[in-house]
Amino acid sequence: MTTIFGIPLMVLFGQLLLGLINGAFYALLSLGLAVIFGLLKVINFAHGAQYMLGAFAALLGLEYLGLDYWLALLVVPLVVGALGILIERVLLRRIQHIDHLYGLLLTFGLALIFEGTLVNLFGVSGSSYPVPEALAGGFNLGFMFLPTYRAWVLVAALAVCLFTWFMIERTRLGAYLRAGTENPRLMQAFGVNVPLLVTLTYGFGVALAAFAGVLAAPIYPVSPTMGSSLLIVVFAVVVIGGMGSILGAILTGLAMGLIEGLTKVFYPEAANTVIFLVMIMVLMLRPAGLFGKEA
């Protein structure tokens, strides 16, 4: 059998595939962060908590309302996104004219409140969300057993990423959004309702996080702390890709998933650190990020 550095090629394929699946999560989450940062210049520290809220909403919806997975995938992002709109209207709006660091502090505080409340209500052990029947089981690829659900996650996450990229880069609405990012005052002068655009953008970014949360619910135990550990990695991904770059966030997310996957085979001890090493190197060589514009 062909081997690379003592690892059979087939095993390597399996690990790369798993890395790509994790990368899809990173891409989905960092995409939301990048969209929000692009227009609002807010570093949304509540992103992890909003992802967690998505997973929790799916779980509670199933338990108390009989909301099935497919419906949850549609409804939960809308509900959590609406919460995001509320946060933007009631809180973020009031501080948008002062230093953006206050936005970071505000969203960080919100994240702590969301997490703390749910820890008090449900504990930290978490609960499991059943894999939907249509996606149960898995198939044998010859080199590995791939659970159907993971394959679905990859497809769904990539589809949503591409859809978002298309909306922003190829439609009129997206053009407004990009223009608003460049020069909001000029846009307003042209008669575009920029405050509404800002509100909807934040709501959309939050909805993306919630969507990722619903996708993650059947894979990871749904617990109040599930977002905070992931968030740091996602921030690193955004920094590597370049703050505010849509395509950068998607491609970097996938690439980091692959790099992490390879590390898990060759030197598992460093699996949690490797992304930060990449981040340091990128910051030294290209401070604006791989896809960012030099300031």
Binding site: L18, G19, G123, S125, S128, P221, S223, V265, P268
Partner: protein
Amino acid sequence: MNVTKHALTATAALLLAPSLAQAEISGDVVKIGYLADMSGTYRDLAGQGGLEALKMAVEDFGGEVNGAPIEVLSADDRNSADVGANTVRGWIDQDNIDLVAGMVASSVTIAVTKILDQQGKLGIVSGSAASSITNEHCTPNHIHWVYDTYPMAHGTAKAIVDEGGDTWFLLTADYAFGHALENDVETVVEENGGEIVGKVRHPFPTSDFSSYILQAQGSGAKIVGLANAGSDTVNALTTASQFGLVQSGQTLAGLLIFLNDVHALGLDVTQGLQLTTGWYWDMNDETREWANRYYERTQRMPTMVQAGVYSSTLHYLNAVAETGSDDAATVRAQMAETPVDDMFASDGRIREDGRMVHDMYLVEVKSPSESEGEWDLYEILRTIPAEEAFRPLSESQCPLVKG
């Protein structure tokens, strides 16, 4: 610091019964501080539930010892040795505390027991796992009540090797506790004729185990052992179930799994898993009676740690009542002389290294069809007698034993 004080009782009895013995209770009050992780990873294992168990013990005892009221304080150590140590220093200096109970993260426990030893106060550890707490870190001033890594690794690994599970792949949390557990398991497996065919040391904490599970599947080992704890174990088990690890003929062995983990994961994921526990609520009438009372207060069934907090607090209060003193050395001696016979243990005994030795149990997680209720989770396969379960004194590195 969120230290809450509960002055439980200050009854008229105090004024009416000025007995001689009472004079030896410092400040005419017995103060117990409950230190635990109240908000992090180990919250469900000990946390608020442990505090509730402690309060139950105080209430069942009558709220006072020989006329002196019992006061309970509590604090969140946030799994930080610094926070835990500072809290306990404050309790000793300002509150004149007599006993520190609870104690979960091993790092916090080792820091706190050193302070207790210097200051001559007593500690009872119910939550921690590290067997070093009564080995190289033993002191005359603390007792380790419920379990430690030695019986967890030995009980489970030996039983599995005996049943033919002789090739192992280990998933180890990459820090001191995981390495210790890994080492314990390797020793047991090899001593009993088994073989370790591979292992992965994963970062702590890890949320995605799919890569490691794939490596375990590729190893061809019969048994995949989890030398980790808490959310790492939970994540590893979930992932193993999704990747059909058990269906493809491998068996999982959890080395440090608690009732709350199994409850959270659900029986679909955990069924068939073998593990060692120090206590289970559904063992006999006495355990059920206490567990039901606990359930009424907390809406959860108690873990072995929470049961241990209750048992050890009562044992402590009995010793205080018996000796009429709250002096650490006096009470510690009395506690060691009296066997522990309650809902938690029968004929348990506190050794000179501070280890409370009692029977442990090898259990198997029930399948969903066998389970008759939300908390009907374990079937007891075997009782591991006290003398077999814990590290024998002959192997101890505790100076109290040697000298």
